[in-house]
Amino acid sequence: MPKIPKQTLKEVKYREKYKADEKFAYRSTIISVIFGGIFLTVSLILNTEFITLFLNQNIIWNIVDVSIKTVVILLFFLFMITSIGNYKELIGKPLNWKELLLLIFLSIGQTLLNPWVFISTFLGLILIIIYLFIVQEI
């Protein structure tokens, strides 16, 4: 009878943990891409001014309008980068600068019709990247 090497308890635990992690990452990829899609649709409706939320009643409503548009784009960026990051992890490659820049460019591109949304989204993206960078480094 051929000898089959026995798996140690440690190896079994490691494999189980790896499988659980993989499942978790896959689920996270799917959930994030769904949310990303929802925010992309909302952004399409608001940032192409297909629907106007507020009729620029005054400065406060203007700020609310710009904030909503900005937050929608930033959430789209955040969910998509989470999803892509997890996807890349699953296939064993790191997320590179080209992909990150493409996502930043496409997020910024959504704001071209409103300079205030452009500025606030640009600043928001920088803050998110700094935050992610710090989180990754720590």
Partner: protein, 275 residues
């Protein structure tokens, strides 16, 4: 709930700290530019904005984004708060006055008028022109538009009515809309000269009986800086930006679809990598 898991997001490490510090400094500089307070002089000063001409009918049509580009502010006629919207195009200056009053407080023959100074002077004698939208029967939304010239506080009907005005009462809110021609050639001195790139004083008046000026109950003077023609964003720039945004959304849609497809085939790919 899931966590942020972006392993391998950043591979650049050598200059990372320098970039981080530079970005933070850049952010602080950008934000500091946004916190410049805006000052107002004694009378309200309004920067008119360029926009698409609204239909002067007393109705603000939200579905067509009417008045969307106007400068919008809240002012008080003595003790009566009103919404004042100001915009202009190449030909006209447009003003909308909206006031909310309890149904019983709306007078049968309520009116709103715009008295125009010939310059930026706010002296009473310099207001030589008046445009009035007068309700004849407010419950039936019947109104009339008048163009007067003012001489020593005497209102005289112009021989030629210029501009346009309309009003409408809906629930508690009455909306008045005016269009006043810009750069009008004024041969008979009946109208005040209102021009692009110049400031003009306007007196917004509210009254309850069709007698002028005795029927005027409340007023406020505002200084309107009418946007010069050079500040118009050319139509082709707007169209180009819109087309660019549409292209970006189409690209995003296509990439999103491709990415979703890749996720669905991911499991097979993982298996292939494992083997």
């Amino acid at each position: 709930m899931y966590n942020l898991r972006i392993t391998g997001l950043f591979t650049l490490k050598k200059t990372a700290s320098r970039i981080t510090v530079s970005l933070i400094l850049f952010n602080i500089i950008c934000i500091s530019f946004l916190i410049i307070p805006k000052g107002y002089s004694a009378s309200e000063e309004i920067e008119s904005k360029f926009g698409d001409a609204p239909k002067i009918d007393g109705i603000i049509n939200i579905s067509t984004n009417e008045w969307n580009q106007a400068k919008k502010l809240q002012v008080t006629l003595n003790d009566l708060p009103i919404k004042l919207w100001v915009m202009n195009d190449e030909e006209n200056l447009y003003l909308s006055v909206q006031l909310d009053l309890l149904p019983a407080a709306h007078n049968y023959s309520e009116f709103v008028g715009i008295m125009i100074s010939n310059s930026s002077s706010e002296n009473l004698e310099d207001f030589i022109d008046a445009r009035i939208v007068q309700f004849i029967n407010i419950s039936e939304n019947e109104f009339e538009y008048f163009d007067y010239s003012i001489n020593n506080s005497i209102f005289k009907n112009d021989t030629i009515n210029t501009g346009n005005g309309a009003a409408r009462l809906e629930d508690i809110s009455s909306t008045y809309e005016f269009s006043i021609p810009l750069n009008d050639i004024n041969l008979d001195d009946e109208d005040a000269s209102v021009e692009h790139g110049k400031s003009s004083a306007f007196m917004i008046v509210y009254g309850v009986s069709p007698y002028y000026p005795s029927g005027i109950r409340k007023n406020i003077t505002v200084l309107v800086n009418i946007a010069s023609l050079s500040t118009i964003t050319p139509l082709f720039i707007n169209s180009t930006l819109f087309i660019l945004v549409i292209i970006i959304f189409i690209t995003l849609g296509a990439l999103y679809g491709f990415y979703v497809y890749k996720i669905f085939t991911l499991k097979n790919k993982i298996e292939r990598i494992k083997h």
